[in-house]
């Protein structure tokens, strides 16, 4: 595909006007040509300018309270959503819309459970990596590791999974392990431990990755940090966006 062909897809995508088949082509081309990411971003920005040029319409006063009420009942932005409870007074159509979004949430929860069950019997590191690399949105980033070597994180936002691959890392002192962390908004969450062989390791991260997380590695006592929080400065930190 040349750039002009890609720009046709990118424009159609930004305007939400592609057929499902073309949308698929777009996704594949986007994965194959990261150098065109700027075009996608610019088309999306241009489309949004069309949207923001429209006259404002003030929402009804009670809508604000209803929305804040709904998020108040959740347990946080990153927690699984509590599905909004349909109100008896809502119009039939509204009820169906809420029911439909409830189905989506249940499906998403099911997908999450599926991944959970897949990692319950831990996949070999190479299958986890292969699984990520099969995704159209597979991406990776590499950083130097303090003390030598490099670490590359491979991830797929669709899967919410990440694998760290290291090369040339210094040998870890005995009794210690490398521990992986998702750092999200400044807060680290443990994502498993690993060791290297000849400086090499392929380590799938436990839990689910969110795009924008920074993947960090610290050196911790055998078994991982006893406190559940890092006890040393990270030797490498890799942003995923």
């Amino acid at each position: 595909m040349n750039r002009q062909e890609f720009l046709e897809l990118s424009a159609g995508h930004a305007l939400h006007a592609l057929s499902p088949a073309d949308e698929q082509l777009f996704t594949e081309a986007m994965a194959a040509h990261p150098e065109w990411a700027g075009d996608i971003r610019a088309d999306r920005e241009t489309a949004a300018l069309l949207g923001s040029a429209v006259p404002s319409v003030t929402p009804s006063a009670e809508l604000r309270g209803r929305i804040l009420d709904q998020i108040g009942r959740g347990s946080g932005a990153t927690a699984p959503a509590e599905a909004p409870t349909p109100r008896p007074s809502m119009a039939r159509r509204g009820w169906f819309a809420l029911a439909a979004s409830l189905v989506v949430l249940l499906v998403l929860a099911g997908v999450g459970a599926l991944f959970a069950s897949q990692i319950a019997g831990p996949p070999t590191s190479s299958t986890a990596l292969a699984q990520i690399q099969r995704q159209p949105d597979a991406d990776s980033a590499t950083e130097k590791v303090a003390g030598g070597g490099t670490a590359t994180v491979h991830w797929s936002d669709t899967l919410g999974k990440a694998v760290l691959v290291s090369d040339g890392m210094a040998r870890i002192p005995s009794g210690k392990v490398f521990e992986l962390w998702y750092v999200r908004d400044g807060t680290p969450t443990a994502a498993g431990t690993f060791t290297t062989t000849d400086g090499k390791a392929t380590a799938p991260l436990r839990g689910s990755m969110h795009l924008g997380d920074t993947i960090a590695v610290t050196v911790e006592p055998h078994g991982g940090s006893p406190t559940g929080a890092p006890t040393t400065r990270p030797i490498v930190a890799i942003p995923t966006s």
Binding site: Q4, R44, A53, L68, A77, G186, T187
Partner: protein, 209 residues
């Protein structure tokens, strides 16, 4: 392997103790983006500010597409619940917060109009009103008005066919094949018009890649 370009987001000994500033470097004037980042951390105050800043603008877009006020408010509610759920997917280094929210709103409004109104209904509806956007009535905020005028004059520089294609897609919620049927143009022509029209707008409005 190490010859990577410097990354926009530098994390050097990272924020791991939670005392340092977060590692992202959002555009300082992207208020909406900053609020989204705070929302991703579960900050309900930030979320309600986000609502106060953006709700009427987003509802304006949804109403433009759906017309029906009650349905539009339902979609607005879906948009903000999605924003609350997925704010962590907003990447400040990949675009502005407003773009992120308007993209969600547009997608949801288009999905709703396709699900709830047949193409012929929309045909009649869009036929009854001006295909173009009436920019004269945009006035609340100076910033918004200037922006609307810029968009309006940029749209005016497009060919009629390009403008019609963009308008049908963005404000009518029509797919490329529906536009081909409506206008009698071959599908390939519609795709080219959409690409060239959007590219011209993008240049004219100074959106950089």
């Amino acid at each position: 392997m190490l010859d990577l370009p410097p990354r926009a987001v530098i994390v050097e000994p990272v924020v791991i103790d939670g005392l340092d500033e977060p590692e992202y470097q959002p555009d300082p004037i992207d208020q909406v983006g900053l609020l989204l980042v705070r929302t991703a951390g579960g900050d309900r105050d930030a979320f309600s500010q986000l609502y106060d800043i953006m709700a009427s603008r987003i509802l304006g877009l949804i109403v433009r597409i759906l017309i029906d006020r009650a349905q539009s408010e339902e979609v607005l509610q879906e948009v903000f619940l999605e924003a609350w759920q997925s704010a962590s997917r907003f990447a400040p280094n990949k675009g502005r917060g407003r773009t992120w929210l308007l993209t969600i709103a547009h997608r949801r409004a288009v999905d709703r109009v396709r699900a709830s109104q047949s193409a012929s209904d929309r045909d009649l509806r869009i036929g009854r009103r001006n295909l173009g956007v009436d920019y004269d009535v945009v006035a609340e905020h100076v910033e918004l008005r200037i922006e609307a005028e810029q968009v309006g004059s940029a749209l005016a520089e497009l060919s009629d066919a390009q403008r019609e294609t963009l308008t049908l897609a963005y404000f009518g919620g029509y797919s490329q094949s529906e536009i081909a049927t409506l206008t009698g143009a071959p599908l390939g022509t519609v795709k080219t018009r959409m690409r060239d029209g959007l590219a011209r707008l993008r240049d004219r409005l100074g959106v950089s890649t």
